[in-house]
């Protein structure tokens, strides 16, 4: 069983400890708590260089040293503290860097409230376990045989059919109920490919509806999207070797994933507010009375500095947008400001949690909005690579990884 070391403060008193343990159990892991000698706590804090007032944070630091010095055995690390505690936020961020610099353990951080439930932690825990447990599968660089990937996302559902490492069928549709949406894209992708569903040697499902669709299609691989998306991104971008950072601005949440030789080793996942997601782009397009497919080109013609916009909240973001239009701003400038606002928020919230490694690969449906790619370029100082079929990363990754289950291949 995978052992996830928990370094935390406040989980018991916030009523979330059981939820953390439930999420770990659901993915076949268990939470463990590194042993620490009482007399080593102060010396660990002194060596770390940050002396928190809260004793439980001191214990977190000592536990991190236990892991770094291999006095305690674990496979992955989960660092979690209360939302809004300044001292804990500082310790949490610095401990993550410490673990990454001093161990090879995958690590994920999370700031919780009393409302945090196991479901919110599940994807993160699943990705941690996958990194530990399926290294061999994740190292797969070529797809073999005839396989299909289905990505049941919050905004769109996608399917892709691959044969001998080539795309032979693909389709997408807006997600309504997940069964009919999946049926639509599966049918269309199979028609393009010229095969029947029964011809598929393996199927992989990912996205929010992965478990339900996994059962329906008897999938060999049912995998959270952090793993499939990163794999699909490096495969589509032909960047399987070396390092890269993948930015996936999704319909409901955002992911920033760092990979080394195609294997994810760190990630952050955000999504408290729609203001930094593809949903805000959709809302903007709707208010500007343009198709979402036209928004990027409009934004490329605009100047974001002419429109003050802060989409930390999608409602306030749209308010800014309406006010700017009323004051006579052009729709090009407003579109550019909306893209810039989303890019800025991704930078401030997601990319601070990981060490950005070049090249940056931007994927997901939002990567087709050229204005958003330009805004990311301005924010990061480097032009992200947008691979062909960048909206199909999940489906591509699921099809690629599922071929790893074909015997002898």
């Amino acid at each position: 069983m995978i052992k996830i070391a928990q370094l935390s403060c406040g989980t018991d008193y916030s009523a979330v400890q059981t939820e953390i343990e439930k999420a770990a159990e659901a993915v076949g892991a268990k939470m463990v708590y590194p042993d620490v000698d009482m007399e080593k706590i102060n010396s660990a804090v002194e060596r770390f260089g940050f002396n928190p007032v809260s004793p439980q944070l001191k214990l977190m630091i000592a536990r991190a040293y236990s892991l770094a010095e291999k006095r305690y055995d674990a496979d992955a690390v989960f660092i979690s503290t209360c939302f809004r505690c300044a001292e804990a936020a500082l310790v949490r961020t610095e401990l993550r860097k410490f673990i990454q610099n001093n161990t090879k353990l995958p690590v994920v951080t999370y700031s919780f409230t009393e409302r945090t439930k196991a479901g919110q932690l599940l994807t993160r825990m699943e990705a941690l376990v996958t990194i530990v447990e399926r290294k061999e599968l994740l190292a797969r660089e070529r797809q073999v045989g005839l396989t299909m990937g289905i990505d049941s996302g919050s905004s769109t559902t996608k399917a892709m059919v691959l044969r001998d490492n080539k795309i032979i069928g693909k389709a997408w549709t807006p997600t309504a109920d997940i069964f009919s949406s999946a049926e639509t894209v599966v049918k269309e992708a199979l028609e393009q490919a010229g095969y029947k569903l029964t011809d598929m040697e393996a199927i992989g499902t990912t996205g929010y509806g992965r478990f339900t669709l996994g059962k329906r299609y008897n999938a060999k691989l049912v995998q959270e999207e952090l793993t499939t998306n990163s794999k699909g991104a490096v495969w589509l971008a032909d960047r399987q070797k070396g390092e890269a950072t993948i930015i996936d601005i999704g319909g409901m949440d955002n992911k920033a994933i760092t990979v080394r030789d195609g294997i994810p080793d760190n990630f952050t996942m955000g999504g408290i507010c729609a203001g930094a997601s593809g949903r805000f782009m959709e809302m903007t397009a709707k208010r500007l009375r343009v198709e979402i497919t036209e928004l990027g080109a409009l934004a490329d013609k605009g100047d974001h500095t002419k429109v003050p916009m802060n989409s930390y909240c999608s409602i306030f973001g749209i308010q800014d947008l309406v006010t700017s239009l009323a004051a006579g701003s052009t729709i090009e400038d407003v579109a550019a400001a909306a893209c810039h606002s989303v890019a800025e928020q991704i930078y401030e919230q997601q990319l601070q949690e990981i060490d950005v490694r070049l090249p940056v690969i931007q994927v997901g449906g939002t990567s087709l909005i050229s204005g958003l790619v330009t805004a990311m370029e301005h924010t990061l100082g480097t032009r992200p690579i947008v691979p062909p079929n960048s909206q199909y990363i999940g489906a591509a990754g699921a099809a690629l990884l599922s071929s790893g289950f074909l015997e002898g291949r």
């Binding site: 770390f48 260089g49 940050f50 002396n51 928190p52 007032v53 939302f83 809004r84 300044a86 001292e87 936020a89 500082l90 961020t93 610095e94 700031s111 401030e348 919230q349 601070q352 949690e353």
Partner: protein
């Protein structure tokens, strides 16, 4: 050498570092530049939203804005420092940054730089003060070798 003083606005530490032949890195110069050389955008210290964003280099978005704003000013001083003098447990009248969390974070950032550091206990009487100055003098002179 460029020697950072902590608290970064301590006039006494500034004077001692300068007196013993080094360039003190203090917040006074950093803030003076902000006050005198810029248009007034965000008085009194012209810390604008963009300045606070620069603090993201040192502390993540979830960390309160006051800490990020302070680190946007103090962080570059830490980056530039070749050595540091830290006065522990000094009363706020000796110099302070007004935020205990920022104080700790500054110490961590200095620690991570792996530069020569001397930690001094705040003196409570004349003898302790003389001993503190002697210790600091020895450290600062040692840096020249």
């Amino acid at each position: 050498m460029k020697v950072l003083i902590v608290p970064p606005n301590s006039l006494i530490l500034f004077d001692l570092v300068e007196r013993f032949g080094h360039e003190p890195l203090s917040v006074m110069a950093a803030l003076q530049e902000r006050i005198e050389n810029r248009e007034i955008e965000s008085p009194p210290m012209n810390i604008t939203v963009d300045v606070v964003k620069k603090g993201l280099k040192y502390a993540a978005i979830e960390i309160p804005s006051g800490i990020r704003g302070r680190l946007a000013i103090y962080g570059p001083l830490i980056d530039a420092a070749e050595a540091a003098v830290i006065m522990e447990d000094a009363p706020f009248m000796f110099g302070c940054v007004g935020c205990a969390r920022t104080n700790e974070m500054m110490k961590l950032l200095i620690h991570k730089r792996k530069i020569p550091v001397i930690k001094l206990d705040y003196p409570n009487n004349e003898d302790e003060a003389k001993a503190m100055v002697a210790k600091l003098k020895a450290f600062l002179e040692g840096l020249k070798k």
